[in-house]
Symmetry: C2
Subunit: 316 residues, 2 copies
């Protein structure tokens, strides 16, 4: 059963000509209070419209340290840094996720893997909805393994595909599998590629991203605790993936694409490749080199946000 | 295709009469160095046998704060606390997982969901193997939603079942699905239950645990960003689960059981229920009550470890 995606028609959605953040859940209207447990936030305890109503860009990534470094970077880029103050973790009441904000930019960590990012996205979508945010763009900035690309290449995802190279995400609901579309916003991907051309600091490509449930056996690595296949089996699988347009492999893009599409968020996935999986499995580059690579999606997305805000200021 | 589980016969395994920690990967022998990337540890950079060779008990749980509090608790229980020193995070070079050690007890966080715990377990199993550990018992101490149990009840898992109530874990390898057994050590479960009876501080039961890939739609919650089913659909599903012996629902037990079985680790899952899912979905108990509940698996497992170490000291 394939679900239809589209504009949300529920009364829960904010009735403005601007594009709202849709929840597709009629039960929410009946709830007096909504506890966003894994953020340690809630509608009764926090004034979400006051705290988050101005958010226009949300950047998400696996590592809490990286998402803190992103907010520091973007604050400097937008000349909004405050030398007197640290950027406080808005989710300081929990260790599940970390969240930072500066002006219209929200930065949230999501841990590793589909279930971890899905919990975060359920609560983030409800947060943006409760805060009555409109016209929100969301970008995942992450790391990945590349196929046939030089390490450090940035991949903007065209389609997120599963381990059989099909563009779908399977969500289990009440024990039954529902298939969801993993389309991302193609115009946003093109705008990000254009930004990278203007920056001219590192290689950037648009391609398909394979999203797996496992880092070792699920990505054909030979260096896990278990491995029942040969180097040739691995190479054959990765080459088949490459022939299907897969440029890189990570662990969150499919559910990210599916959930953002269902809620009407303009979404992109921008991941740097830390190694070429055709040449190896272990992440043995130096700490400094890996750090440099990990800054590339931040630099690209920072440049994009700056450009968008300038264009908006020019229009108003 | 169902994989056979059993004693490992590879030369990678330590040839002692004691029970080793098995890796099932012939490629590891050919590697000069093994970087445990998500722990920020490695065989070239760290003396793993010296650091971890004495480990006999490994406790894992989602939250890094909880795993730090567990090591503080167990240190006090075993009278091994050092008032002069903090317990350092052994994985301080990364924010992916946190790891603490006191004497023969290792405490490691694993984040939320199957992919996140699977990455940790691949690297943990290799770590214990490289460190030449023997006779290791591993226990997941976690939180869960209960079905028909009073909040705060501790559930020791008999079998981990999937969203269709079957005791299996599906691992995708090279795009193909391999089915793995999710049996846990029944004698360990009984010993833990006996410990709880002796403690007599809270209700403890043995039952099946359902392991899902999602916290909201995957667990029939009505309070996610998306919900396409009714309260009655939810109740029917949870009641069917309960009829199949499911006492609680969480997000890591199936891959934990499967991987521990493959590597010859004696394993148990001990989760407290934070709410009764037949009565609600939101975690709206007070912070203090939830904190108290979360200490229960720690208290039970702490008491078990203390008893085992005493019995061992008595024998020697």
């Amino acid at each position: 059963k394939v679900e239809k995606n589209g504009k949300c028609g529920l009364k829960s959605c904010f009735p403005l000509p601007l594009s709202p953040v849709c929840v597709n859940n009629p039960h929410l209207d009946a709830m007096k209070d909504d506890i966003l447990y894994h953020f340690s936030l809630g509608t009764r305890t926090h004034d979400l419209p006051a705290m988050f109503g101005d958010v226009k860009f949300v950047c998400v990534g696996g590592s809490p340290w990286r998402m803190k470094s992103f907010i520091e970077y973007i604050a400097a880029e937008l000349s909004m840094e405050d030398p007197e103050s640290e950027y406080p973790n808005i989710c300081a009441g929990t260790d599940r996720y970390a969240m930072y904000k500066i002006g219209p930019v929200l930065s949230v960590s999501h841990g590793m893997g589909i279930p971890s990012i899905a919990i975060m996205l359920h609560e983030l979508i409800k947060l943006l909805h409760h805060a009555r945010c409109t016209d929100v763009t969301i970008i995942r900035i992450g790391t990945s393994g590349g196929i046939g690309l030089g390490p450090g290449t940035v991949v903007i995802t065209k389609q997120s595909v599963d381990a059989t190279f099909l563009p779908k995400f399977e969500q289990v609901i009440l024990g039954k599998t529902v298939v969801r579309n993993t389309d991302l916003d193609q115009s946003l991907a093109e705008e990000l590629l254009q930004c990278s051309k203007e920056l001219n600091q590192f290689e950037t490509v648009i391609g398909n991203t394979m999203c797996t449930l496992d880092f070792y056996e699920g990505q054909a690595r030979l260096d896990g605790a278990f491995c029942s296949y040969t180097e040739k089996d691995k190479q054959d699988y990765l080459k088949k993936a490459n022939e299907a347009g897969v440029c890189n492999i990570e662990m969150e893009s499919s559910v990210f694409a599916a959930m953002c599409k269902l809620s009407g968020l303009r979404a992109a996935v921008v991941c740097v490749t830390l190694l070429d999986r055709l040449k190896g499995d272990q992440l043995n580059s130096s700490h400094e080199v890996l750090q440099d690579y990990q800054q590339r999606p931040q630099i690209l997305v920072g440049s994009y946000i700056k450009k968008q805000l300038r264009a908006k200021a020019g229009r108003s």
